[in-house]
Amino acid sequence: MAPRPNSIEAHGLVREFKKGPRAVDGIDLHVDPGDIYGFLGPNGAGKSTTVHMLTTLLPPTAGRATVGGYDVLNEGPQVRKVIGAALQEAALDPYLTGREHLRLQATMHGITGEERKERSNQLLHRVGLTEAADRKIRGYSGGMKRRLDLALALVHHPRILFLDEPTTGLDIQSRTALWEEVGRLAKEDGVTVFLTTQYLEEADVLADRVGIIDHGRIVAEGTPEQLKAEIARSTVEAVPAESEQKGAVAGVLERFGTPTTGFGPESVAVQLAANDGDLAQIVRALDAENLRISHLQIHEPTLDDVFLDKTGRHLEGAGAEGEQEETAAS
């Protein structure tokens, strides 16, 4: 029998909760073997519900999906054998040590004896927890818990890894360390990674392809570069030297594009009408009006611009209205 691919496929995937709206509303996605797929969206967008369905924890209301070549609805046990998952909450027992967690997880996967011991030591070393291995979890930092969570997901050598907001709440150092490890898993070990995040930078840095989800629907999909190229419009930000000139500066900038937000309170920003906007022209126009500028900068398109373009909102703060549905899934 030919080996099954390490891919993830979903077609028209829907999850409806009782007395609630559709948390996931007919999504289609494809993740190639060995790729890191970033699933980007605000709180409540349907990211965790999608992960729960793809990892067999929640049956879809409609649609179909295959993970590692197995149908998530009809071949749940086979799916669970080939996947590892670190869900949104690093669900650890505060009274057990890191090593005890690994032993428990390995036993649940049928790994016993010397192999279990070796695998535990190997993973503890890999995630940098060898020294803390025999300490109880309640003494671990958030970053240590996340790293242990990752190690637990890797115990049985999964071909596909699901990481649900793995770096939420972590400091930048822990976040970077986790990014490196995830990158290594995909590039060196060929593990397919499905990663949900609400951090633009995380998706931008880590993902080969990005799917942007909002209100249960995928609103954009592609490589980060493709998505940004689709927008193809830079943003100019100017900070007037004198705050009373803010209105006048805005008036000049609006000749070159449409006003946008998301910058500092002193800033005026416009998304340029075309990507060939000339900074020199803007400077000349400001100078002609005798407006003094303390700071002027062109920002290249970001994934937030993509999100703004597709949904009319910025990613940051977009989730408040949908948090309830996401909570229902988790």
Binding site: R80, A85, L96, E100
Partner: protein, 258 residues
Amino acid sequence: MHAAVLQAATLGRRAVVRTVRQPANVVFPLIFPMLLLAVNSGGLKAETRLPGFPTDSFLAFALAVPFVQGALLATVNANVEFARDIQTGFLNRLALTPVRGIVLLLGQLGGLLTIALVQAVFYLAVALAFGVRLESGIGGGVLLLVLEAAIALAFASFGCWAALRTGSTEAVQGLFPVFFVFLFLSSMNIPRNLIETTWFRWVATANPVSYLIEAVRGLVIYHWRWETVGLGFAVAGGMCVIGFALATHALMGRLERT
């Protein structure tokens, strides 16, 4: 098959380790029933002078209560932790492994059983140290531990059901007073035939906890009274069957995995 046994044993071990590492969950179930036994033995000693009272040692008569109380306390503590596993997502972590649902349940119950048995040995040792004689002898002592295991499983399966059904630590903690109402409305402090208030005698007769207490008591104060002991085992067994069926059903609902 071997893997399932190992998995259940590992989960049971985890339940024990987690309990042992929380001193309040160890000390309270050991001390509280013994304190209540001491208070009741002192205050209700005069009961032994009632005509027809089955023994002249109230301590021996009341020793059955800590056994049932200890099983209740172990049940509540362990199932609060089980509910916490659901709340924190630990159950989902286990659900993502190939482990079977029934193994998760057996592991949880196995851990609780171990704790309840350790408690029972402690209660028995304290009672023997204070002069209680087991009329049924060493064999009766062994059977007492088996009965305690059955009682603990009976309560535990209902506790598991509550934890799985609600996924709430508060709901499981709420079981504690409910269980205690059953305990206080039983024949814990007086034989049923000596209860003079009609409604209370009727409630105590309808209350399954009375039969559990009387079975334990039967092994302490009587040489061998098979009828009482058998009835206790039957009630505990029936509770186990119903509780386990409910818990299994709730587990299937909780684990929606495909």
